[in-house]
Symmetry: C2
Subunit: 406 residues, 2 copies
């Protein structure tokens, strides 16, 4: 008998029939003798409907009132699922954020969890009930409803699993696990049995949008075993866990991620003096434009070349800002390119294996793909290349690192 | 400066634009220096949408989960109205049932209020905020959401007004007050300046569907001055209050009510023995059919005639039940009639004035309207007549009692 936290997202509970199907799945786990906490999102479309109402009412919606409105979506789903469980003869009880004691700070719309009362959910579980919890929401210490921000239901699930020391936190999605790369790009992409938290973080931030990054960090911090599964198909999914030091030989590389949403901005011939990086990036940050990769190279005549990437949506604005920076810094030239992509190889095995970078660069060279930028972390190497080579590069790397093999 | 509780129903907050219009109205009262508590219902249609979802999930919806779902309707409205007020520069704060401390018993879907914490709302009012309250909902002592039943928002408003000792409780509706009778039937029907709680109770129960009966009882019990007003038109409305003994001459009759939703069932020639009334009405009650008027007359040969009225919707079922009762009691004949109506004259002045009944009966006789049943209370006389005479009888009585005069 295990204690399992299960989370179902908006599309998994998007209709009455889907909620009934989820109830059937939950009941199976319960009937197998497990204690079950289910965390649910709002029915798909519902949060957008509520946000639209709030937006019509106030130019800049009051954050506390906004949270009061959008939190009703999850409140409805949790009660509907409890009903569906009871209709099947499976006792259940629903909990809003305030009912279960999900205490957060006052940062409405992006609140952070401070502590969780164990008692309400424990009492329900001990009484043999399935505890059905509204994801995404909490309560502040002045008794107002808060929300954790979009995708916060994953965080709710992990936080509850951590608080209750659950045996596993299962995140049900519309994919059956985490793949070595996107199966739509590489036919031989393989579902991974396990992956480490660190690898998952790098893969998530690089575009494998299976899990909310914040919930993975949370799970890693509290060592909550996290499993990604398909909501409506059977299968073991992918277990995200701490690095397994007992495993004799972990694969060097776990997966290949890519991102086509970035654009590149380059200032050439910038005077190479202290503070120049800040002078370039400060106005970009002030304009709320997020910068991803940053590369600075030595140039000639005491100048340097400075390149960074931003989201394609921010490209035009970044170029405008940089033109005035170019003038004020007396840099030689501003160049931009929004037909690029980023491809990354990720793997904890990289730490103990040399030669990953050289294999990557050789593989791309053999396909005549020019590398425009390189950035590395302890368990990841990312390159920026022309966008048209994305599929070719991903397939070549997937094959070079032998990821299709079990 | 007064403390005023204002209640707006579902149609008054049915759209974003209407909520904004309500905000403007509330702000005017606030700007005049009054302290304001606003109680709101769900946007019209919303409660039905939520009920339909719940009904799809469970054959007999779990009452606590059901309340959890339907209460979200008011939660959304209150936050939207708070936003609309803030957008106008009028500070506001919303309160769900649990946030304001509206404690109820465990009778989900028809919960009764046990007590109200004064502090949360007082604190908001003292801080200069408009307190915007979700009607219809409360919290049980095991921390679950309860609802007061349909129309419960009126009760919420009156209960809060009583708890805070408000100067007035204003119920905004789609009519501009309580009339001497239905203006669609009698052109000269007149809006009353004031009416007593007792009269309002008799008028409400007889079909003037302006206010929830329960809220009028509540207001009468706690002597909360209650005013009915139009949500989107200016005007003084009608004040419902305790009997004004200072008024030199209150009108004998205040209003004429009618009801076309009843049907009549008669058992003729029932053996006149003790317990026969119970034998007739028990199976009707067991079948959850509500009985309104009951009349028993002395018959001949130790038999009696027994007549009662039920809602037209229950007529067929009542006739079926009574046929088996007729057989078991060995009564002579069963008769039914669903082409009847009930017309009532109501007025506290009746207590001290003789002759009201005779004026009523003479008036009907002069129009050749036959009276089929008569029932009286201290401040009301009701008659059952043929349905086709409803308008004629109402107009004749309205004129006979001189109700068009101020």
């Amino acid at each position: 008998m295990a204690l399992i936290v299960q989370k179902f997202g908006g599309t998994s509970v998007g209709t009455v029939d889907k909620i009934k199907a989820i109830a059937e799945k939950v009941q199976k786990f319960r009937s197998a003798g497990h204690q079950i906490v289910v965390v649910v999102s709002a029915m798909s479309g519902e949060t957008n409907r509520l946000v639209a109402l709030a937006d019509e009412m106030q130019a800049r919606p009051d954050a506390a009132e906004y949270d009061t409105i959008v939190s009703t979506g999850e409140q409805v789903t949790m009660a509907l699922l409890s009903m569906a469980l009871k209709e099947r003869g499976c006792d259940a009880r629903s909990f809003t954020g305030w009912q279960l004691g999900m205490h957060t700070d006052h940062s409405h719309a992006k609140a952070r969890i401070k502590r969780i009362d164990e008692t309400p959910i424990r009492t329900a579980l001990d009484a043999g009930q399935v505890a059905v919890v509204a994801g995404f929401q909490g309560i502040t210490d002045d008794n107002r409803i808060s929300t954790l921000g979009r995708g916060g239901s994953d965080t709710t699930a992990v936080a509850i699993a951590a608080a209750l020391k659950a045996d596993e936190c299962q995140i049900y999605t519309d994919v059956d696990g985490v793949y070595t790369t996107d199966p739509r790009v590489v036919d031989s992409a393989r579902r991974m049995e396990t992956i480490t938290f660190e690898e998952m973080l790098e893969l998530a931030s690089l575009g494998s949008k299976v899990l909310q990054i914040r919930s993975v960090e949370f799970a890693g911090k509290y060592k909550v075993p996290l499993r990604v599964l398909h909501a409506f198909e059977d299968g073991p999914g992918t277990l995200i866990t701490v690095e397994d030091h007992n495993q004799m030989e972990s694969p060097v590389i776990s997966g290949i991620a890519f991102n086509r949403d970035e654009a590149k901005v380059t200032l050439l011939g910038v005077p190479d003096v202290p503070g120049v990086a800040a002078a370039i990036l400060a106005p970009v940050g002030d304009a709320n434009i997020e910068v991803d990769m940053v590369v600075q190279n030595v140039g000639e005549n005491n100048t340097t070349d400075f390149t960074f990437t931003v989201h394609k949506n921010d490209y035009e604005r970044a170029m405008e800002l940089l033109e005035s920076v170019r003038v004020s810094l007396n840099a030689r030239e501003l160049r931009g390119d929004n037909a690029i992509c980023k491809v990354s190889v990720v793997g904890v095995g990289m730490r103990s294996h040399a030669g990953v970078a050289s294999t990557m660069f050789k593989t791309l060279a053999s396909e005549s793909i020019n590398i425009q930028m390189i950035s590395t972390s302890e368990i990841k190497i990312s390159v920026v290349i022309e966008e048209k080579y994305l599929e070719l590069a991903t397939r070549a790397l997937h094959s070079a690192f032998d990821l299709a093999a079990v």
